[in-house]
Symmetry: none
C-alpha cells in the first residue's frame, strides 16, 4: 500500500482515489493494455467485472504493469465494483445516443472528476469491446463521458481509450480550486435507497411485476440524478425505512 | 482524396497536414492500433519506415481503419519519409535524457504543431517498441516531445502513445460551456411533492406531531436541493401518490 501511495504521488493529478473498472472485457490483452496505461499515468487501482478470460492477469501487453494486474480486484457485478465510490462515471463512444444520462466531453468531465477525487473514491467504467456498457451497467452511473472522436468512427480501442482518459485526468491544467465540498454518499447507500423505494413501488402497485427490471434501472438512474450528499442520503434512508415499515405493518394487520 | 479531406475537416483540429511516421515498428498489431487511433481522431495520413512485418496492412487491430492502412506509404528511411514536411517532431519516453534536442511536453508541443499544421505538412515520429527512435532518426527532428508519464514507468505502448498525442492535437482549447437544456419544475410541483412526502412521514410515524412544523420546512429544503427537472418531478409525484394511496387504503382496511 505504501508503494502504491508513492506511485500515486508522483504524478500531477493524484489518481490514488480513481478506480478504473473494466466491465465484461473480452480480450485479456486489452486488460493488460489498460493496466499498462494505468501504470504510465499513476492510477494504481484496477477493478474487473466479469472478464471473459479469467487468466487475464497473465496478459502479455501489461509491460511494466504486472504488479498492478496482480492486485486487480474482481467483481461479479457493477454494483459491487462501485459500492465504495462516491461518483460513478461511464464512458461511451461518441456515436451512441444516451438520452437518459448527462453526457460530458472528456475535458469537461475530467475537471469534475479531478475535483471529486480529492473527496473520495471515483469509479470510471469502460464496457466491453463489442457492445460497451449495458443499460443496467449505465444505471449505476451518475453521468457519462465521451472522448471527442470523429462521428464517422467514434469507437476507440479499449486500451487506447483508457490511456487517453488517464492522460486527460493527469494533464497539468490549472489545479482545481478547492472549495470544501460536502461529504458524498457511497454507491451502496444509494443502492439501498433505490431498493427500499423499489420495494415500496412494488407493494403499492406502482410497478407491475412484468416491467420490474426496467423500472428498477430507471429508478436507480433517478436516484443518482438527485446528487444527494451523505447526510441527506441518510435522511432519505430513514424516511423510506419508516414508510416501508408502516406499509408492511398495515399489510400484515389487514 | 476528397473523402480524406472530409474526414480531416470533421474534427476541431484539422490533421490533414499531419504525417504520423512509424519507424521500425516490430509488431504489426501496433501499426493497426495506431491506424485505428488516427481514424478516430481524423488524421488520415500514415507513413511507415522499415516495418519488421511487411504484411502490416492486414493488422487485425485496425478496426474501422482498413482504408487508412491500405493507403499508408512505405519508406526506406526517415529522410525520405519526412522529405516534404516543414516541421519534424520526434516522440520519446519521459525517462530518456535527450541533451541534443529541445524537449517539450506534449501539451506545449502540440500547440506549436497545431500552428505549423496551418502552414504545411508536419511529421510526428514514433520509434520502435523496444528502442524508440535511434540517434540517426532523431537527427532528422527539429525537436522532441514527451507524454508526461511517470518517471518510474515512462514507456508507453505504441498505439496508446499515438492515441494520446492525437487526442491532445485535436483537443478543443476550452471546454465548451454546458448548456442547460432541461425544463424545470414549477414551485407548485415541488410543493406538491413536499406535501405528499410529508403526509407519508406523518402517517408512518416518522414525524412526530409536536415537531411537524420544523420537519416540514426541513423537508421542503431537502426537496429543493434535489434540483429535479420537470419530467423527474412528475415521476416523483406519481410514485408518492401511489404509495400514499396504498398506505391510506391499508389504514382504512385495518
Amino acid at each position: 500500500v505504501n508503494r502504491e501511495t508513492e506511485v500515486a504521488k508522483s504524478v500531477p493529478g493524484n489518481l490514488d482515489h480513481l478506480r478504473v473498472v473494466l466491465v465484461g472485457t473480452r480480450n485479456p490483452l486489452n486488460i493488460g493494455a489498460a493496466a499498462r496505461a494505468m501504470s504510465n499515468f499513476g492510477a494504481p487501482r484496477l477493478r474487473v467485472v466479469r472478464p471473459y478470460e479469467l487468466a487475464f492477469r497473465e496478459a502479455r501487453s501489461a509491460v511494466g504493469a504486472e504488479r498492478l494486474l496482480t492486485q486487480a480486484e474482481e467483481f461479479h457485478g457493477v454494483a459491487e465494483a462501485v459500492a465504495d465510490c462516491t461518483l460513478v462515471v461511464g464512458t461511451t463512444a461518441a456515436g451512441r445516443r444516451e438520452l437518459r444520462h448527462r453526457l460530458r466531453r472528456l475535458e469537461a468531465g475530467s475537471e469534475l472528476i479531478r475535483k471529486r477525487l480529492q473527496a473520495g473514491p471515483v469509479a470510471l467504467l469502460f464496457g466491453s469491446e463489442k457492445v460497451g456498457l449495458s443499460n443496467t451497467d449505465l444505471s449505476h452511473c451518475d453521468w457519462l463521458m465521451r472522448i471527442p472522436t470523429r462521428a464517422e468512427h467514434g469507437s476507440m480501442n479499449l486500451g487506447q481509450a483508457v490511456a487517453v482518459c488517464l492522460y486527460e485526468l493527469t494533464r497539468a491544467g490549472k489545479a482545481p480550486r478547492e472549495k470544501r465540498e460536502k461529504a458524498l454518499p457511497k454507491s451502496e447507500d444509494l443502492e439501498r435507497i433505490t431498493q427500499l423505494l423499489f420495494g415500496l413501488l412494488r407493494s403499492s402497485g406502482y410497478v407491475k411485476p412484468r416491467l420490474a427490471p426496467a423500472a428498477e434501472e430507471k429508478l436507480r438512474r433517478m436516484i443518482r440524478r438527485l446528487q444527494l450528499d451523505a447526510s441527506d442520503a441518510e435522511v432519505w434512508l430513514g424516511m423510506l425505512r419508516q414508510i416501508a415499515w408502516k406499509l408492511d405493518d398495515s399489510d400484515f394487520i389487514s
